[in-house]
Symmetry: C2
Subunit: 337 residues, 2 copies
Amino acid sequence: MLNFDEARFVRIQSGAVAHANGIRSALAACLDQGAKNLFFLGTGGAGILMMPAAQLLQRSSTFPTYLEMPAELVLTGHQALGPNSIVVIPSLSGTTKESVEVMEYCKAKGAKVISLIGHAEAPLAKGADYPFVNFAEDDTSCESFYLQSLLIALTIMDLRGEYPEYVNTVQELVRLPHALLEVKRGVEERAERFAEEIKNEPYHIVTGAGTTWPEAFYYGMCILEEMQWIRTRPVHASDFFHGTLELVEKGVSVLLFKGEDASRPLVERVERFLPEYTDKIRVLDTAEFALPGISEKVRALISPVVLATILERISAHLEVKRNHPLTTRRYYKRVAY
Amino acid sequence: MLNFDEARFVRIQSGAVAHANGIRSALAACLDQGAKNLFFLGTGGAGILMMPAAQLLQRSSTFPTYLEMPAELVLTGHQALGPNSIVVIPSLSGTTKESVEVMEYCKAKGAKVISLIGHAEAPLAKGADYPFVNFAEDDTSCESFYLQSLLIALTIMDLRGEYPEYVNTVQELVRLPHALLEVKRGVEERAERFAEEIKNEPYHIVTGAGTTWPEAFYYGMCILEEMQWIRTRPVHASDFFHGTLELVEKGVSVLLFKGEDASRPLVERVERFLPEYTDKIRVLDTAEFALPGISEKVRALISPVVLATILERISAHLEVKRNHPLTTRRYYKRVAY
């Protein structure tokens, strides 16, 4: 595989899953101390990656769960945030300024802070009640964040008697890093072709639904826009039909991300609509990839993880073909904001 | 004013505010019957327009409130949806297929349905427990939906003792339609210049925060994309710094929507960043407009209403200058989806 360290990948994703016990202890302690709700507070892409876990809790658990943007929360406040809140703050660097600020804000309110970070020395590691350090970099952080936040959601549900399959699911997730590695190996050639095909596209509509919508949003904003300076329009597959579809015509690229959760028909609806109107439809479908030892139920939960793993291979080829390193920025962390 | 019927505008917005008593009776009945939570379930733009009210309840009331997309909700289900749910479904036509489906879905779960529609004969009027009919069209529906959903949020809070200023606020809102008309009159010339300036732009980044973020999202998707076929990238002013900013360079248009709620500093942060990197910064700031008889507290609540009222004037000029009627569609309601 191009520019890829297989052992490092498995080590990082296994590191994420290995936090299962620590996450369980932390959440059990919080619940024992009377925690009554949970906030996911990630900035930018890290916040987007919390969406599948937040939606899982909101839709399947009676434990009140909120997803807010740190920069906005510290200005608006929130009635539910207080001593009985668990706050989850993900930040790979552990230094994102909005996230550090929201940690201080939440601590001042008496909330218990769980941080998901890549470095033990970062402010978000040192300041949290329960820091979970798992070293990753941009090429490996998506899966790691998705998995850790999923473990948080499943653990909350299990501790409250809402997810009896917890033990089996975690056993399956332990197998996942190796299964994801096989996905990467299997998709490598296709990823190169995909990158070749899109390398000169100036604009993409990127869509998904359910658990794949956050990945469409993330890939558009944090990879194509931030790391490749390509214009995108991330749009939920339901919203697609209420505005953005009017932009579709011959030559307009649409990227469709299909997962295996209940929302899949919404992406299929876009897929059926497009062929008559554009010749540039690119579909990534997690269902095409074998994941030995992973049940259907868990496949539905980890569809965005599989997509992130495929997309990283596409990005790896894209930066070479476009001679535009994924690490180059015009502004972010170069100029103040 | 260009293509504008002043009396009709005031009649429509006054019609929205005049539902205050009906909304109060409906919600009081729901709460008396044991309602325990509320869902805003709008499709596409109508859903976006519910966001300020949903966020107000989520952040300021302990009454559990959810904002979901109808097309997705019927596939995924939701733990909190049931006989103790109040469901608010906005749809101007009253026929949006996803919204009709979600009404049936919610009714089957025993929820009480409040619909906000433009026509008394529409399925969403006839099928709802509490239909609120206020005729409007695309040029007047934004303000109407914002105002009706705001009344729902404030009423819920008042009935639960969470908003003691309710009576005063409603009195102020009664004055608002005439104040908005003055805003339109005052902004007309500037709106024409604005439209002239942007008429040939092929792409806009559109941003806002707090109550103005939904209007940025809506104006990008439902006006510029759907009605003018212009590419946009609606992005929250916090997310802006975590990806989309890398696209900014000389010649890239950025539309900034500033309101008067607590999130205003997030838009100002973008405004401070931009001048060094692009020459095409267009700011709409509600604070520049007088609203006689409207207090600061209410101004913060109705910032998106004021923006919608200004933007409608810009759109009215845009369709003429671009010779592209706002009603022309390639696909929506022309081909099946």
